[in-house]
Subunit: 264 residues, 2 copies
Amino acid sequence: MDWDKIDRFTKSLIKEAGHKIRNSFFERIQIESKSNVNDLVTNIDQEIEQFFIQNIQFAFPDHRVLGEEGYGDQVTTLNGVVWIIDPIDGTMNFVHQKRNFAISIGVYEDGVGMLGYIYDVVRDELYAAKNGAGAYLNDERLPRLSDGSIEEAVIGVNARWFNAKRYVNGGKLLNLVADCRGTRSYGSAALEIAYVASGKLDAYISGRLSPWDVAGGVVIAQEVGAITTNFKGTTLNFVQPDSLIVSRPSLHAFILQNYIEVNA
Amino acid sequence: MDWDKIDRFTKSLIKEAGHKIRNSFFERIQIESKSNVNDLVTNIDQEIEQFFIQNIQFAFPDHRVLGEEGYGDQVTTLNGVVWIIDPIDGTMNFVHQKRNFAISIGVYEDGVGMLGYIYDVVRDELYAAKNGAGAYLNDERLPRLSDGSIEEAVIGVNARWFNAKRYVNGGKLLNLVADCRGTRSYGSAALEIAYVASGKLDAYISGRLSPWDVAGGVVIAQEVGAITTNFKGTTLNFVQPDSLIVSRPSLHAFILQNYIEVNA
């Protein structure tokens, strides 16, 4: 497998998709909801996913593609090469703000993350990583993450988890807010993982994410030494929804032990 | 008073200050804490405030200046012309992220907001308003805000207020999270007010802010028809800390009545 070639191919596709998305701001965007009224999808999410899948299938007919909008393959195992794609992570931001959303792509070979991409379309910032070759923000290599204390940590976490009874004890998670330096919430899991990888956040926590929200980010996070697990402390499997905590190395176990209580 | 001239003067100063701040990224920034360990200040906050004050005092010796870092005047009333300045709103973001912070300036005459500015230094986005002449984002006029429903609202609120016992009932505020479409937290009150004024957020809520956090934003918000009050529903006085709710017109009373309970 020529991963350098696939890397160049993917970056080129991502830049073209970003151009299409920025152009869509001047068109009428059609908005629908999916599983619930706040789970938005637009014609642009759908068109961009189809753009990726068609190009990947043409170039690599033996690869499989798992996409958020369902135009790809039914993927229940990560055997072979699997692309995991979110054409627009943060669709609510795309609709409401026309910013703060990202294209997210992870490419896995037999379950191992080989390539990861998170593209902040409006800022034109591409976070990209190749397994074993480090992570980059555009042309700049991201340094390995140092340790840090909870008292000086700025943590990404959406307020919905403080109300949660399913997945996580929201009240206990609120103690984290009191103990850390500050919290932020940007509404795009992919971007928030990228912010951890690039030191803008010290940790990011979510009670439930889909494989396409995290697959690209996990490869990038690993390349800078961030720790990535679900709330049980085990690795993600990328074929089912799961919780996520990604952080500087020293913070991971501390947050998991002191603030995370998984509910049935 | 030639407000057009003062407007041009202020925009020019803000752009020069923004240039200084962006240049500071290549220097060593000295970080200290003020009222508590998470209340950060840097030498850049201090230098930029002094830059503004010196220029304003030279050009308008009879104006007074209230600045976050304390280099201005002791201001206990808004008689005459008062400039209310935050050289870097979102210092924690400035330190941790080198983005997502703003210069905020409000110019008041006998308590009436005449000019308002919020400058996102890294995005180079200047939100600016003149009393009665509308609000702009760079060269583009911001449209008046339409009404909206809570179910479709994206609301800016920092997680610290869900824990709060002082200032506001945190538990009741958590109900808002369940009822609205989503919440965000960016860590700069000035930017979050600007996001409401430009439709990126539908409301922004904070239990306690200082005059320099809000003075520029309130002028901008008013020019697009946003409603701005404290948690008691009364107007801010801009000389003491206060709570804040700023939102689309229809949402203001609804949020205040259903989710805000002021604690003693």
